[in-house]
């Protein structure tokens, strides 16, 4: 029997040469007359080890990484197919502390299975949740999700089940499930890893949502920056259609559900749910005023469940293992697990799925291993470009929705971007406004104009012009943006700005430059 060798097809792995490594391994095996089968799996999430090659030996998977094409011959020399020792060997993958210390529910199959092999999916617990849901009444499915305590993983943290209940309770014939896969926050890649590593899990979650809410059509809105995720999702949907799991009668149940992929076009704002709906309708991605909420009048004016990839991908395990099992993880009102993404200037960047309540320090220092540069830690930005910067003394805060909000930060989509002591926080505040200027949809004035004025004012601070007065002006502008913006783009841009000013005032205390002093 041929030996299985796993080389990820996740785009992060591809970005550092996984395709070339896979080709070289296949060629080397052929030359040596060895019988191997190369499986292209998702990523295990230990991204600093990518390309991470695994060999199946004695029923266990052994890890070697990061493997460059130049290492392949020596791996064969070392007998890696039989678990031979090598400088890049890490032993059994699942015993690597970074991996062993996680609680993988949503990401249970990512990196383990061949993403497009439905039989492999089913052999690893896939379709169990869907089959359970099909045997239940739609209302019972909704209540199971309510009971699990699952909250929107896109950042807002709204209870997923309550959203479903609202849509399920409306009488309209046509309803929709929309999956927000416009993962634009810097420091986040969990949605991409699911779509590339276990697309069936997302599809299963969407079909269950469709059955529960009475929707027969679903859309996945994926950002155009993710071409691999788009291709993998489309291929997975075809596989489900061919297997009779999508279409007029899902798995012969009589429930109809069809799924479509829509591609974004480089607009960050389309991650805001109402902008995304406009974009799926083929329009400019401007935000809608609320009410009505999308659950009542969403896509094409019909009741629509809008959920993030991670929320929907958490549904199958909730159905298969039960609400109580899922709810058992977490703390306070944050139940279940969160896939954290440790990124930026960090030694061991990657995906860490843990129950809510783990401290930021455990994530950044424990899992992350400190900065990549080896220089002292200065700050981390949590929850993307609209999230707050935190200081070193805040790292003992537990990562849950409420505790972080109390500390003046937010969890968002679970992204953590680490910076060392070379970061200039006034420059980051300027960038926050600049980003808002570039990505604002332009519909409301506080965001459209506020971003430009904010950037100009921070530039004056950077040049040392009337620093105290201009900081006061920025604070005042932040009030206006927070209170007056239509959505989180303008409403939360003050988060990174204000946290930078509050926690790192020394970076704003600029001496007038030579030009300004003249």
């Amino acid at each position: 029997m041929s030996i299985k060798v796993y080389v990820p097809r996740d785009s992060a792995a591809l970005s550092v040469g996984a395709d070339e490594v896979a080709t070289r391994i296949a060629r080397e095996a052929e030359t040596r007359g060895l019988d191997i089968r190369v499986v292209r799996n998702g990523s295990r999430g230990m991204l600093w080890l990518e390309p991470l090659v695994e060999v199946e030996h004695d029923g266990k998977r052994l890890a070697y990484g990061p493997v460059a094409t130049g290492d392949v011959a020596s791996l064969f020399e070392a007998g890696f197919l039989e678990g031979g020792d090598h400088a890049l060997a890490h032993g059994v993958t699942e015993e690597i502390p970074y991996f062993a210390n996680q609680e993988r529910l949503t990401f249970a199959r990512v990196g383990v299975i061949d993403p497009l092999d439905l039989a492999d999916y089913e052999a690893h617990g896939g379709l169990k949740g869907l089959r359970k849901a099909l045997a239940m009444k739609p209302g019972e499915v909704v209540e199971e999700v309510v009971e699990s305590g699952l909250r929107g993983r896109g950042g807002a943290g709204f209870p997923t089940g309550i959203k479903w209940r609202t849509v399920a309770g409306l009488p309209e014939d046509q309803k929709y499930i929309c999956c927000n896969a416009d993962e634009g926050d810097s420091g986040t890649f969990a949605d991409r890893m699911i779509m590339e590593g276990d697309p069936s899990c997302l599809i299963e979650g969407m079909v269950i949502a469709g059955i529960a809410a009475g929707a027969t059509e679903g859309y996945i809105y994926i950002r155009s920056e993710y071409p691999d995720a788009i291709a993998t999702m489309k291929a997975a949907i075809r596989g489900w259609e061919e297997a009779g799991l999508l279409g007029d009668s899902v798995d012969g149940s009589g429930h109809a559900f069809r799924l479509f992929v829509r591609t974004g076009a480089g607009a960050y704002i389309c991650g805001e749910e109402s902008s995304m709906l406009e974009s799926i309708e083929g329009k400019r991605g401007t935000v809608r005023t609320k009410p009505p909420i999308p659950a009542i009048a969403g896509l094409f004016g019909k009741p629509t469940v809008v959920n993030n990839v991670l929320s929907l991908a958490s549904v199958p395990v909730i159905l298969s293992e039960g609400a109580a099992f899922y709810k058992d993880y977490g703390m306070g009102r944050s139940r279940g697990t969160q896939p954290f993404q440790i990124a930026g200037n960090v030694k061991n960047g990657g995906l860490v799925e843990k129950a809510f309540g783990i401290s930021l320090r455990e994530l950044i220092e424990g899992f992350g291993g400190g900065t990549a540069s080896g220089r002292p830690f200065r700050t981390a930005q949590l929850g993307g470009p609209l999230g707050a910067y935190v200081s070193e003394d805040m790292l003992d805060l537990p990562a849950d929705y409420e505790a972080l909000a109390e500390g003046g930060a937010m969890l968002g989509h679970g992204g953590i971007v680490v910076f060392d002591d070379t970061v200039d926080m006034a420059e980051m505040a300027r960038f926050a406004f600049e980003f808002c200027q570039i990505e604002s949809c332009g519909k409301c004035t506080p965001c459209r104009v506020g971003a430009v004025r904010g950037k100009e004012t921070v530039e004056k601070i950077l040049a040392g012009i009337d620093v105290a007065a201009n900081i006061a002006l920025v604070e005042d502008l932040c009030d206006t943006m927070t209170d007056g913006s239509l959505c989180a783009m303008g409403g939360l841009t003050p988060m990174p700005v204000r946290s930078a000013i509050r926690l790192f005032p020394e970076d704003f205390d600029r001496a007038p430059s030579a030009v300004a002093a003249e």
Binding site: S11, A12, L14, S15, V16, L47, W48, E50, E183, G184, D185, S186, G187, T188, F189, D191, R192, S224, E225, Y226, P227, D228, R262, T263, G264, A265, G266, A267, Y268, S279, I280, E281, G282, K283, R284, G285, T286, F300, Q341, I342, A343, G344, N345, V346, G349, G350, A372, Q381, P385, V417, V418, F419, D420, V423, M428, F431, F435, I438, E439, C441
Partner: protein, 166 residues
């Protein structure tokens, strides 16, 4: 500046944009909700989404030309003129900044003789900013002709650019 009436410089190398647009719209059943998909495909087919194509799209989808123009101009992905033969999308979002992306951008732009957001006069290369490619644990990141690259420095990125040219 290149003569815009020269055939080689015309979008799609001489293909009539209106005809190309009509074909793409027809492939999508002239569904106005598919406008983004239509524009992506048109850009793939002829290299850009030029003004000359917009009336044909508006007509096919039974929406106003202003609505089509509004969509084309709203999204960063759509360009009215074709870019260079090599397109480099280089990330300048926070995670990549934390790993020196701004210095990398400066170096790579200088080395290729253009500013960020520009296309070289000989149409060899376009370097544009992008805000997150989802490769934040392997920063800095860039996409070269649709292919993602991570753990970049100037040498590695230039090698990727040169590799795309051949």
């Amino acid at each position: 500046m290149a003569n815009p009436y020269l055939k080689d410089d015309a979008p799609g190398g001489g293909v009539d944009p209106a005809t190309a647009a009509e074909a793409v719209c027809a492939r999508h059943g002239n569904d106005p909700a598919a406008l983004l998909e239509i524009l992506h495909e048109l850009q793939h087919d002829i290299g850009c989404t030029p003004q000359a194509a917009l009336p044909a799209i508006a007509n096919a989808l039974n929406i106003s030309r202003a609505e089509v123009h509004g969509v084309v101009s709203f999204y960063h992905d759509f360009h009215e003129t074709p870019g260079g033969r090599i397109t480099v999308k280089i990330c300048r979002a926070e995670a990549c900044q934390s790993m020196g992306a701004l210095k990398l951008i400066e170096a790579i732009c200088r080395r290729n003789g253009i500013a960020l957001g520009e296309t070289s006069a000989d149409k060899r290369i376009t370097i544009e900013p992008v805000y997150c490619l989802g490769n934040c644990a392997l920063s800095p990141a860039a996409m070269v002709n649709g292919r993602l690259h991570g753990r970049l420095d100037e040498t590695r990125l230039q090698a990727a650019i040169d590799g795309a040219a051949t």
